[in-house]
């Protein structure tokens, strides 16, 4: 029960702070919209007939890069006045704390996806043949990126080269989920591939479960080292 109470306390606090400043959402949103526009120009300028091939890659790169932008901003406010240290000096449930951070960050990124995913569909001129499967994969993929990103953003908060280290760690760990996301998105955009999208959805769900267990475990151990 203490873990649940701590989870709610941290989540409410993070949402309240974001509602007040909107720093994280605005920085993710601005970056993602710019990324979509640049990628759209880059890929659709010459070969308009291959949009459906490029759109999945553009989508998942935007999700990954924009989420990474948000992680640093999200933890900047925890660094100010060493307040994250202050939280860790209370008997807060480490799992509750971590999961609250993951939930808040997930909500912020999903909110921005509501804006930039339709932009991708529009700029790349692709339709959704399998909207339910696409949505499920988008959420599962974002969860994986947020689990890895939140863990390492928290652990590297005081590192001097945090801005460089974070992508170096997050990007390789996100490759499996990017591959799954690109496969499912390709199928969802109506490409004639002889593959079952459910297979990749199951893979993504399994990857999320493994990451959830691992990241909570590592966070609990690492913050008290």
């Amino acid at each position: 029960m203490k873990a649940l109470g701590d989870y709610m306390a941290v989540l409410q606090k993070d949402l309240r702070l974001e509602l007040r400043s909107r720093e994280v959402i605005y920085s993710i949103l601005l970056f993602s919209v710019l990324a979509v526009v640049i990628l759209a120009f880059g890929f659709t300028w010459v070969s308009k007939n291959r949009n459906a091939t490029y759109a999945p890659g553009a989508l998942w790169l935007t999700v990954l890069f924009s989420a990474t932008t948000g992680f640093n901003r999200f933890f900047d406010r925890e660094k100010e006045n060493a307040v994250f240290q202050g939280i860790l000096l209370t008997p807060v449930s480490r799992a509750g704390l971590f999961l609250a951070k993951v939930t808040a960050q997930l909500l912020f990124i999903l909110m921005t996806e509501v804006v930039f995913v339709p932009l991708i569909l529009m700029f790349f001129n692709v339709g959704l043949a399998l909207p339910g499967i696409f949505l499920a994969e988008l959420i599962l993929g974002t969860v994986a990126i947020v689990l890895v990103g939140t863990l390492f953003a928290a652990l590297l908060m005081n590192a001097r080269v945090r801005d460089v280290l974070l992508p170096i760690i997050i990007f390789p760990l996100s490759i499996p989920i990017l591959l799954a996301g690109i496969k499912v998105s390709t199928l969802a955009f109506g490409a004639p591939l002889a593959e079952d999208p459910m297979k990749w959805l199951h893979f993504s769900a399994g990857y999320d479960i493994i990451l959830l267990i691992l990241t909570v475990f590592i966070f609990e151990k690492a913050v008290d080292l």
Partner: protein, 223 residues
């Protein structure tokens, strides 16, 4: 009752050099211990070690109290939350769910009446310090570690803080504070630990002239 902290030959290393060297100290429960020493003597390092923010590299350290409250140089407050929101948040993390009226009483008691709903960014340094002290007051901890707790407080604020600490000690709270202010030592200390260059120079119980003696031992001269 067992000692709250028991340090035996403890060493802490920073940058290949001992910041604390062979420290052997015991901290009795329900007493106020003030650590004095010049800048760089190891006062903050000792408090960080007791708080669990640092690990020791030599010796053994026994901690007999799980919940330890810490007030450091960094006040560990959210600048964009109000005083009331900060206090309510940290009280919840300490496992308490006080009513708003109870928190308002605490904020009034620390001299922040009229500023409950202002964001901390708008507070003066002294007001932030008072709010940080109030975090200790709403915690469940029976041990308060306070690093230079008078920072930013005017003379009225300092007197207020002395009373807060003495009241807490009277109710059984163990206080370990670092300070370089003789008046603070005189007002709150039951005993003084003198540190110099990471080593314990002496431990003095409260008594006649103990403040002057402590600061002379620390190399800072008298009050």
């Amino acid at each position: 009752m067992p000692e709250v902290f028991n340090l035996d030959e403890v060493g802490v290393v920073f940058d290949h050099r001992y910041a604390l060297y062979r420290i052997s100290l015991a901290f009795p429960p329900g007493a106020a211990t003030v650590v004095v020493g010049e800048n760089g003597a190891g006062k903050s390092t000792l408090l960080s070690l007791l708080a669990g923010r640092l690990h020791h590299h030599a010796g053994t350290m026994q901690k007999n109290e799980a919940l330890v409250g810490y007030l450091g140089h960094e006040l560990m407050l959210y600048e964009d939350l109000t005083g009331m929101e900060n206090l309510a948040f940290f009280a919840r993390l300490w496992g308490r769910a006080p009513e708003r009226s109870e928190l308002a009483e605490v904020l009034d008691a620390v001299g922040l009446s009229g500023s409950h709903d202002k964001v901390v960014r708008a507070y003066s340094r002294g007001m932030k310090q008072r709010l940080a002290v109030s975090k200790l007051m709403v915690s469940n901890s029976r041990v308060w570690l306070m690093d230079e707790p008078t920072t930013g407080l005017d003379s009225r604020g300092r007197k207020w803080l002395y009373n807060v600490i003495r009241d807490a000690v009277s109710s059984g709270v163990t206080v370990v504070a670092a300070s370089h202010i003789p008046a603070f030592v005189q007002a709150v200390a039951d005993r003084v630990v003198v540190l110099a260059r990471g080593r314990v120079r002496g431990v003095l119980p409260r008594g006649d002239g103990f403040v002057d003696q402590a600061f002379e031992m620390a190399g800072e001269g008298g009050a």
